[in-house]
Point group: D2
Chain length 348, copies 4
């Protein structure tokens, strides 16, 4: 693929340990030359630094760090291409029906953690639609920590989602967990979700990179921004440029939330990439009473959308009841978000 050849010029700074000899320096330079790059030696009294400049595809940090006289290697270039603002300056817009993600309008995805039944799903769909949600979420294939927990309704769940779309007009967002079910999920879904635990499931990323459906890529529990962008790069490099990033909480030592919602990534990632970024305060905090204030904060710092768990009766939910809003609280959330969106120059 042409996209895979996207590389520019890069630089590495190779810092040598003290006590290096002329022979050591020449060994490092020779390695750099063998990679097809140009070495630049910069000798101080105590430290010697060798710059390696040339085609990024040729820079191999690992190989240089493996040289024993090398103290560390600092790569200067960015490892991602297609997702970067340098590759594409304007924000990516993704159209789903009459919704345009990444535009001035904030997108709100709402719905239950799991699709449980026709009634539960349709009731939720109607309620979130009425309150102003733009898309409907619901899990048919559920990644659960325990093999003994409810694993989702599978294709029956997808059919119920399609039914809810038919009735409400809401586009649907649902998760795919393995490459072999991607075609099935793509047949039903408007947006395919990649869950946090699968952010670095590369065969799955490649599979969704080959279909023509938007992908909601959730940040892994301990993923850096760079790793999130590299996972998006996997999808774009296969030809699918419709990727929505999603912050959903990282794992820290904090005891008062299930996860630590890291809103800092919203403005930080905007500098790096043209892709839209959403925030999931439901998984991000794991506490229903933190969802509304953190959703407000997400919009205030620049998120392009939200994904919110709503259940008609959280006490009966098969999963994540403690982080789900009731339809009434969801309506309250939408009302509170409207002036915040306006304050940051957007609409809801």
């Amino acid at each position: 693929m042409a996209a895979k050849q996207q590389t520019g010029e890069g630089t590495m700074i190779v810092v040598l340990k003290s006590g290096n000899t002329a022979q050591d320096i020449e060994h490092v330079c020779m390695k750099i030359r063998k990679m097809g790059l140009r070495p630049h030696v910069s000798k101080g009294i105590e430290r010697t630094i060798v710059g390696a400049i040339g085609n990024e595809a040729l820079l191999k940090v690992d190989q240089l760090e493996a040289i024993q006289i090398v103290d560390k290697v600092v790569p200067i270039m960015k490892p991602y291409k297609l997702v970067s603002r340098e590759f594409r300056e304007d924000n990516t817009h993704i159209k789903i029906g009459n919704v345009t993600i990444g535009s001035g309008a904030i997108t709100v995805i709402a719905g239950p953690c799991s699709v449980e039944s026709r009634e539960q799903l349709l009731q939720t769909a109607r309620e979130v639609k009425k309150a102003g949600a733009t898309l409907l979420r619901g899990g048919a294939f559920k990644p659960r920590t325990s093999p003994y927990s409810f694993q989702g309704l599978g294709e029956d769940g997808l059919k119920l989602l399609a039914l809810a779309r038919e009735e409400t007009g809401l586009g649907i967002v649902t998760e795919a967990m393995e490459p072999s079910v991607v075609p099935l999920v793509a047949r039903y879904a408007d947006v395919i979700q990649i869950g946090a635990r699968n952010m670095q499931n590369y065969p799955l990323l490649k599979a969704v990179g080959k279909v023509n459906k938007p992908v909601l890529l959730k940040r892994g529990l301990c993923a850096t921004m760079n790793e999130l962008l590299m996972s998006a790069e996997y999808i774009l490099s296969e030809g699918n440029h419709q990727v929505i990033l999603c912050e959903r909480g990282i794992r820290t030592f904090c005891e008062f939330c299930r996860n630590t919602l890291d809103l800092n990534i919203v403005p930080a990632v905007k500098k790096e990439t043209h892709l839209p970024i959403f925030v999931d305060p439901s998984h991000g905090t794991g506490k229903y009473d933190l969802v509304i204030p953190m959703a407000r904060a997400a919009v205030a710092c620049g998120a392009d959308g939200l994904i919110i768990e709503v259940h008609p009766n959280p006490e009966e939910a098969s999963s994540d009841g403690d982080q789900s809003l009731t339809p009434k609280n969801f309506a309250k959330l939408m009302k509170e978000l409207t002036p915040i969106a306006k304050a940051v120059g957007r609409t809801l």
Copy 2:
């Protein structure tokens, strides 16, 4: 002190390892009785649980966990008293001149990381005053990672702060780093800051607990919410109830910020305590271009105030230049915050 006797009834759940005998259970019950508490045995087929109920002051988790047949001890009571909403339901208001912290008005503290010179400080003070700041910050005693870095101007810095107050009318916020300088700092400051590295410096907490000045208590880099509240409890238990909590970023694996500003603590702590909470997006992110969006988010999720680093010329700052706003950007921040404050029913 009377405050130190503040205790209520508490409970601990003592879970025994499997394979326990009647004798083991009796040993645990006997220990609980010796603490002056009542044991309640609850025997299942596989697990045995002993509840211990009674005066919280008598509950000793450590001693029960040290019993070898004990698997774990789950304390049910909260370890803090005076800071809790249960002790005092209404929000604490703190008055400094004509500023009331914790009320409907958002308080904005602004100023340089370090007091460097008369000109630098006065110029900054005038600019932040003009833009709408409520209080002036500036460090005279600076905790620096390196003994070779600028350590602050000491008392000379305090004098310059007093001068700036005289000229602008802004109350001043400055840090004390050791018990012996607390009286000196209290003589000049309107609010005494306890830095993140000193959040568990108990002699210092006791010292500021004995003066009649508001204290801004910054959350430690890896402090839990519980630990933050316990450190505040140290100050209140000495008689000083004017404590402002402050989130300023925690340490995580994230690579794109110096720290990870943890806004989740704002709504979470509001449920637990009557004390006001501020947010410091300058230290919290370490990046000047994240300060404005994260300040907006802080107000959106319910912060009572902000503390912002402003320097007339960040490129010349003795410390933290990369996270300081210029006066021009600070004025922009204040302008952007106004509609957000209004959207959450507050004023700026």
Copy 3:
């Protein structure tokens, strides 16, 4: 499957918020009864606690936490069954040829990160065999952060591994990354590796649970011990009881290692499970000069085996050169491990 019905009696402690009414308590009890469990109310002056005792399969923490008057739910039972020492007291032994994993003899798996060529692999295999390695590792399918990095030789790599086994007699350990390649990998491998990024790839865990080959399950970068054991439970619950756990470093704030090798899990997990646990100090530290001391420490604290990256020429490795040992250093490691193994009553 019979295994899936493995459940015992469990208990949950439901702590109510203060200010609860008799009606609230009855609501909680009713929910517990509806789950088929027995509630036990324990009312103190300030706090009320409700115990829920009964069949573990019926305990639904989420549903109880979703009740608004509930402060928190503390589950007392362990969520895993088949992997627990309570299910099986004796250590699991896994036989691969004449190697018995989990016995008194320490198992050492060694080899390159990636299979790169016939020469590279055979040379490494011969050298590690000579130095005393028990099994040969080598990646044919490689999970790489970047789509532009070397992705492994695929089936050609598996064929080279089989060739190396034929020549040296060493059993082979190699990774499967998606369910659809499990049968292929199982045809060649003696042990199927599940990488850290895939520890919660549940379709993959189920797939390897259905083959009759030992599985080396690597701990995820931010996996708790409980999550690691639950992932192992997925494999056992499908019928494959030959699982080897593997610690390979967690992600923390530490700057001096690529990851933080968490040896504490070795003695901790031994209390919980009958499964053997290995340690990978190569990925666990990411620094070749930490591999030898940390391998010694792993054996000293009770690890059943080690997995070590060895490359004939680390400076030329396609991946992970900076954490690979030369054959000469690997021989040194084996020599240093021998007296440590003896000191803890084991052999090498």
Copy 4:
């Protein structure tokens, strides 16, 4: 002080954002020249890098990062001097009576968390002495999370420690928590301990830097290796070169230990500094049954000493009972350590 002038030549790599102009580059070079350093411009097609070489004392990362066209600044030099292997190649040996810390013999410090009574302390001292401990630990001033917990016996505790030394001949290790008590503690103690919470209490570090007593400096809960070494540098820069570093567990997401003992720092720090490093597996894990295996691991990876909590009756301890060994288990530990020490060429 002469020590404070210890600086060598350093280098910073200043990476510019893309889209920079000749004028931007000249602005950066001018700043570098104004610091008294030499700039070296290295222009690639997409990226421009400016090296800044010269006296380390003049390198100001903050000021360069504050320039808006600067993307990041990578300092190449090490910020510590006196503690570095480059300053002093040979290991520091510290003599306390007839014990030499940092030599071939492993030092074992043992004793209770808190000094509670004459009987408790003397009994423990006799037992640990008999089992082979080299020094006696015991807290007289205790940093406790809660103001309502036992805070230590103060000077009475110090007197009991002195009594225990008189009777057993064991040198004593005890903590100082604030600058004003350093002279008092120094009068009694053979080694002054700085606790983890005070690792960055700079006034305290300066105070112990001015006395002529060895200092045991515990790593903070979320301190990097660099920060630990910088805190040691504070002590050395005041003239006291007798510093013992101590790993005691870091804070992570892990649920099975109170802290995560990070043994990786032992071999890592040995490359950087000439100072000895100890390990505290009692606080490091918080679980008495992990202390013995992790102590073995600590010795296996190169620790110079251990600090172990021992209490005659852990179930009655005022603090940390669940991580204390009984004297009998301590004797078992010492017996298990002997062959490990021998295996790594040391004695116990």
